[in-house]
């Protein structure tokens, strides 16, 4: 457990420490004099815009599918989760191609109107608002899932009571369901914003200079780890704030379900154009986050007969790294989940270190890893680089693996542990015979989530991989940055395809979850 605490927190702490200690080098002076305000300003604007869009997308969608019946609802309910499968940089690549000056939309527009590119205004996807829309399209499912679960578990009795007290449908949402779901929505939003702040690929590809891009540049362009660490300090503060936000009023009694009676929801039927409008909104959201970009990539891939064979090496690398990282992160996640059951100081620290790693952008963790091997006097080559990369994967994703296992344990009543104690089971026996098998019921989901998260990971892999260890994500990004979009499509689609597996599994689990359980 101590090992887990030290191992999980070292990159984060060393990046923080370096940021404080490094003083102001020349690079830092340069950055703070020129681009720091851009980095910070665009990050804040991006987070605010993304946050607003995520809420505007997710809450109506969740309310529509949980409380109403309309054409295609059962299918749309499920489609709306799919954007979780595609990383934001895949969306960025697809939309930049689709909406760029040379892309099919603008070309079509010019063909139809006979105008030339200078004669009209078209929203620029390579911009801060463009990035925000793409991030919101990719990340709204975090809030959608949280709100949907909260709306479903808001006791129907409570809503019925409100109805008998004369509340109109609009009041039900605004005065009963939303306040009750607020902690869940805020938690989902803070997760989405953590991901948005951590994004490197989409921002860099669209040319928006966020802090995460800045951290990466400080290292890649200036080779200055200290300056990167200084920038990372701001991101660390942001991560602390978002973590605090996620826990904010989570435990208060005001939003707990007060009635244990569960009834199947009677959904209000939306007839005529109301129903079609609801279906249209949900379908548009799915198309924005998944349908359109994936179809566009598929189209290019087929149209250009994009090469597949040259990717086999990258695919093998991806699978090897993801398997190694996922195995270790799984073990660490299991330790964290089992530890949380015991509530000792050390297990709390381990949990804190793990969630800290998840809240911090991969670029910052990679920087921390570089700092640690620098202190150890090692070079970033061969085996060392591979080990550091896998270590960073573990730091970043352990908590994602711990979560499903912890949820499985949380469903077991406290009295189960007491029953085991009264049957004279020692702590070790309780751990092995009771807690472990229960935690393992979340194991498949945990392992899959870990595998796919690592498969999608971009910035840390870009920074730390040794030569010859390009992954699918690195290839996709590299090709797209070199304007070889056709070649980027296949790795993008493969990553998205892999991402679909845990998402589908998750949706099956959600639909099976009994009301009152948090899936």
């Amino acid at each position: 457990m101590l090992l887990a605490v030290v191992g999980l927190s070292a990159p984060l702490l060393s990046a923080g420490l370096m940021g404080v200690l490094s003083g102001g080098g020349e690079t830092w002076a340069h950055i703070s004099g020129t681009t720091l305000s851009t980095y910070a300003g665009s990050t804040v604007v991006m987070l605010v815009l993304t946050g607003i869009l995520v809420l505007v997308f997710a809450i109506p969608a969740a309310w529509l599918v949980t409380m109403h019946e309309f054409p295609g609802r059962r299918f749309l309910e499920w489609l709306l989760i799919l954007p979780l499968a595609a990383p934001a940089y895949v969306l960025a690549i697809a939309y930049a191609n689709l909406l760029g000056v040379a892309g099919p939309v603008q070309s079509g527009l010019r063909d139809m109107t006979g105008l030339s590119a200078r004669d009209y205004w078209f929203p620029d996807i390579n911009s801060l608002p463009g990035l925000s829309v793409i991030l919101a399209a990719a990340l709204y499912p975090y809030v959608y899932l949280a709100a949907r679960a909260a709306f479903t578990t808001t006791s129907i009795c409570t809503l019925d009571a409100a109805r008998t007290l004369g509340a109109r449908p609009r009041d039900l949402l605004l005065r009963v369901a939303l306040p009750a779901a607020r902690p869940a929505i805020i938690a989902g939003l803070s997760l989405a914003l953590m991901e948005a702040a951590a994004d490197y690929g989409a921002a860099d590809y669209l040319g928006v200079q966020t802090l995460t891009v800045g951290v990466f540049r400080a290292w890649s362009s200036y080779g200055d780890v200290g300056a990167g660490a200084r920038l990372a300090l701001i991101l660390l503060a942001l991560a602390v704030f978002l973590q605090w936000l996620e826990r904010f009023d989570r435990g208060s009694a005001g939003s707990e379900a007060t009635s244990k009676r569960w009834q199947s929801l009677t959904r209000a039927r939306l007839n005529g154009w109301h129903g079609w409008a609801a279906a249209g909104f949900c379908f548009a959201l799915f198309s924005l986050g998944f349908g359109i970009p994936v179809l566009r990539l598929l189209w290019i891939a087929i149209d250009t007969n994009a090469p597949v064979a040259s990717l086999s090496g990258a695919a093998v690398n991806s699978i090897l790294l993801a398997a190694a990282g996922a195995s270790l992160a799984f073990i660490a996640g299991l330790a964290v989940a089992l530890g949380a059951r015991r509530k000792t100081g050390l297990s709390r620290l381990a949990r804190l270190a793990a969630s800290g790693g998840y809240a911090v952008p991969g670029a910052v963790l990679a920087l921390g890893g570089l700092i640690v091997i620098g202190w150890l006097g090692l070079g970033l080559t061969g085996h060392v680089a591979l080990l550091v990369l896998i270590w960073i994967y573990v730091c970043r994703f352990t908590v994602a693996g711990a979560e499903p296992m912890q949820a499985a344990l949380a469903r077991a009543p406290k009295s189960m542990d007491q029953a085991a104690r009264s049957l004279a089971a020692s702590p070790l026996r309780r751990l092995v015979r009771v807690d472990l098998p229960i935690a393992m019921s979340g194991a498949v989901v945990a392992a899959l989530i870990l595998f796919v998260e690592i498969l999608k990971e971009l910035p840390a892999t870009l920074m730390l991989r040794p030569t010859g260890w390009d992954t699918l994500a690195v290839r996709a990004y590299g090709y797209a940055s070199d304007e070889r979009v056709a070649e980027a499509t296949v790795p993008c689609l493969l990553i998205t395809l892999a991402g679909l597996v845990p998402v589908i599994l998750l949706s099956v689990r959600l639909s099976r979850a009994r009301p009152g359980e948090t899936a």
């Binding site: 007491q418 029953a419 089971a425």
Partner: protein
Amino acid sequence: MIEAALSACGVTKKIGATTIVDGVDLNLRPREITALLGPSGAGKSTLLRLLAGLEGLDAGEVTIGGSALSRPGLTVPPEKRQTGLVFQDFALFPHLTALENVRFGLPHLTKADGRALALSWLDRMQLAARSGAYPAELSGGEQQRVAIARALAPQPAAILMDEPFSGLDPALRGGVAALTLAVIRDAGVPALWVTHDPSEAMMLADTLAVMQSGQIVQSGPPETVYRSPIDLAVAQALGPINEIRLTEDAGVALVRPEDLVLDPDGPIGATVTSVQFTGPTWRLLAMADGQNLMIDLPASTLPPASGSAVHLTIRSRS
């Protein structure tokens, strides 16, 4: 099996400034089922947790056969004190079958012996046919019977049950409770049964202990506590009761509804205000000298009409 009494002596538990359990003395004898009754918040579950060693106590002592299990500064942990626990939510291990759940407490036995013993306990609980089922495949009543078999199989020195039947369907309850308590009595261990159902407790327990505000206010055989409650609160805890002021100076008599009988020469004149049929009885509500009375008449009798004047007498019990 150790046949020894589980005793609490002056047991006290405080949370902050509030005293939850206040100087409780309780002696649980082998082969005897003690039902602990009382309103919510009386401290029943806390007392059970103190006896089980799930919590430490602030004063007093818990002993079994004279050796200390709990006193201030010492709490023999649950895993070392050989007390079986049964919970309202059953607390079965979801990943183990009924048989494996029962075998969980028998790790010292060989696989074959453990299996045989677990099966024999399941058989006593009339569950031998369900031994391979997982908890999710069992009904509530079956789950609770597995939980009881699991608690009894390791031959505990005592068994403690926290509202074990209140999660069950009313139709199943009586049967499961009767079977369970018969098996426990047969096992010869002291048993404490926390419940808030007085009629079930009176029917099935050997001793009643009534708890109020952290203290045990009366204990004894069910009939004694029912017939001779020490105060109105105890009387009310076991069922409806009339407070009848007979004369100016005689004080108040506590009379059960079934102990008021119609008698043309009876000393109490009353007017019937309502007549309700409950199945086994007619329940009359009547008014006598500004006092509300409740009277239960056997269903076989013809009840007086609502609004009629009646005379009542108090049935004497020697």
